[in-house]
Symmetry: none
Subunit: 227 residues, 4 copies
Amino acid sequence: MVAENSESELVPDAKQRLLDAAEEIFADYGYEGASVRQICERAKVNIAGVNYHFGDKENLYVEAVKRAHMCSARDMPIENLASPGASPLVRLEGFIRGMVASMHAPARPSAMKLMMREMAHPGKAAGTVVDEFIRPLAFHLREILRELPPHLDEPRLLMTGFSVIAQCLYYRQNRPVSELIFGREHMEALTADMVADHVVRFTLTALGLGQSKRHADDADGGADQRG
Amino acid sequence: MVAENSESELVPDAKQRLLDAAEEIFADYGYEGASVRQICERAKVNIAGVNYHFGDKENLYVEAVKRAHMCSARDMPIENLASPGASPLVRLEGFIRGMVASMHAPARPSAMKLMMREMAHPGKAAGTVVDEFIRPLAFHLREILRELPPHLDEPRLLMTGFSVIAQCLYYRQNRPVSELIFGREHMEALTADMVADHVVRFTLTALGLGQSKRHADDADGGADQRG
Amino acid sequence: MVAENSESELVPDAKQRLLDAAEEIFADYGYEGASVRQICERAKVNIAGVNYHFGDKENLYVEAVKRAHMCSARDMPIENLASPGASPLVRLEGFIRGMVASMHAPARPSAMKLMMREMAHPGKAAGTVVDEFIRPLAFHLREILRELPPHLDEPRLLMTGFSVIAQCLYYRQNRPVSELIFGREHMEALTADMVADHVVRFTLTALGLGQSKRHADDADGGADQRG
Amino acid sequence: MVAENSESELVPDAKQRLLDAAEEIFADYGYEGASVRQICERAKVNIAGVNYHFGDKENLYVEAVKRAHMCSARDMPIENLASPGASPLVRLEGFIRGMVASMHAPARPSAMKLMMREMAHPGKAAGTVVDEFIRPLAFHLREILRELPPHLDEPRLLMTGFSVIAQCLYYRQNRPVSELIFGREHMEALTADMVADHVVRFTLTALGLGQSKRHADDADGGADQRG
DNA sequence: AATGAATGAGCCTTCATTCAT
DNA sequence: GATGAATGAAGGCTCATTCAT
């Protein structure tokens, strides 16, 4: 154990508190809509704290996004679901399930929200996030797909990857509007498992990999014994 | 011809110019990021014009979004691609092609951008847009899917619709970040036709509708011979 | 009867309506607190009407004040209560009663209010009002007092006049704050007659004119036998 | 002496300077007529200072009025002229002289002006001022009058108090218009002592308390040996 | 290391006014 | 004679930032 001052484990220090507050508030209101006053109040830090610890608002934002993607990275499939020895098909299914799960109920919702916001309108923080988090994920998926039977050329590999990711992302990027369209209750009826099952089946079938062993258990409801 | 002053047909009046400018600037910078000064400058209208014609910034925003969705509605598949007599399969393909096309190269890019922004974080204008534009589209797609052979229960109908829409939306919602990941040139290589072909094939195959009649004409389209 | 257009007797013309509206609104909100928009709306006149009929806001204000004092002048004691042949004492009592009455319940409350506002902080319209309305009244009172037995020198004549006027004015200038101090109900209990009786008695007694002949006729004046 | 930075005793801090400036400018121009920019310039404080120290213009106004009444309270008769052991007559005379004096030449003219403005059109600050300053004064006067020989009923007590206060207030509330009527020089000829003597004599005589010992010295000019 | 006071640019809005019809 | 559109200045206020401590 490191020697720390007495309160360090209960109350995070000012810098951490600022990052926490910034994450939530930037996630909720966007960069322009958030004010440093609001963030400082939430963080219980003096108004000058942002400039003291981070220089300015923009840099606080960048740091908050960077930290958010690191948090998010821990939920994500690459490390914990990569299962290097497994077949491409198993790894694809793992990828999808991991991604759907982390979209559906991220460990740190505000971190996810903030990251998605930045990705929708990439700014100064986007480069880092893409380099360290998004691109590895995307490349990982592409390599899985590359190994699968219908050996596609590069553009189609790309588009196939997009089709997979798009389905996972949809439930995060378009949840509010989907609730407006179909009603909140219909959307909440779609559990993470149901969505994951659907995306896996839809995708594998689209790739011509789902017929033999899957068409049997389609009837019974869906969430089951593949893997 | 009505007797009008000489410029009336060339220069739209102040209200129109404000809507045009608001559409572009709100689309680029978001509601908070845009300033009415900036909008008035672009519209070549006095700063007080916003208050005069629209009351305040928020109402200008709402009106801009409403008009944007009406513009976008004209590109969209429902009316011009519905082809009421055709088979569900043909109509599904038409829907996808129409949607991909209007995502790829909307007639009014800034209108599309603005609408997507509002849909990402629904505010006061979202209700109208959903009611008049988005929901009819979504219901139309659901009815097409409902008629297709693998007769799905409601939740799966919903998710299947999402899988279709997600693939179309992806190229609009995630283009900037995709360019960061794979490079702009790789993204620009994906033409609207290629994307549409891919999404149609991916989707129909996933629905078990792509094998028999399609493997014949695959040759002439370039992207082919799976499944 | 003059030949007028059909509506002229029911609806006053725009200029009159503007003066009416200006009188009320300037009276309620003051010059700075009132806006020409508000006045035009109340008058049901186009926003440009003020500038068209009166040049600018300030001139509208001046005209409104001038008209207000003319209206008020009609209630006031000089003409209808002067009774040139009567004794100074009777005329003083008449003056006081007339003034108290017109302060208590002016024929046109908003006109009175507006005039008092202008008098509290004299501006461009004050000169005319003083010349045509206030000064004649004040001089009239001074001449009455000059004829009364305790023949005072000029400064004391002035101050005595102020003592009379002050008592009458008080109930108008300080009614709101008096209600705050003593409660609205106690103020409303003070009728115009009671106040007039009191001011007459207080004043005449102060001038040494109230003892001999008044304690006898107290009975006929209505509010009495105090003492 | 405390160790302070060199200017601390010469230049009041920003908050004080703002209150000082607000007092003067609100007194001269009224709430609507004053601008916070003007106040900040006078106070040599940044435009944002008002928001920082007082929240908004309205609260600055309220605070300025509150402070103004506290300043004014120090000149006023209640504490320094109450002379608890003295006879009611002496105390009434003391009250009048104190009030006339503080109306004639208040220690802080702008504070008095501001307070009178607020009392003329009571707003959010009026309640406090009335509670803490005006009402105690008015009640104090009423209690003096209650003890005096012509034992009046409540309404007449009220009106008698108004007659006293009205005479004192007149010279402050109606000085500008009086100068317009009679000329500035005639008004300036009325010194505080002359006015006080007059009001005392007028009032005591009206109450039937001034005859015996006063009618003698009336002739010599007025400002003299009563006590 | 960290703060509370203070800054000045900019925000949206409203103002009285003027213009072209 | 009278109007609706449009103007530019100024309004109060909030912003991110910096300064002196």
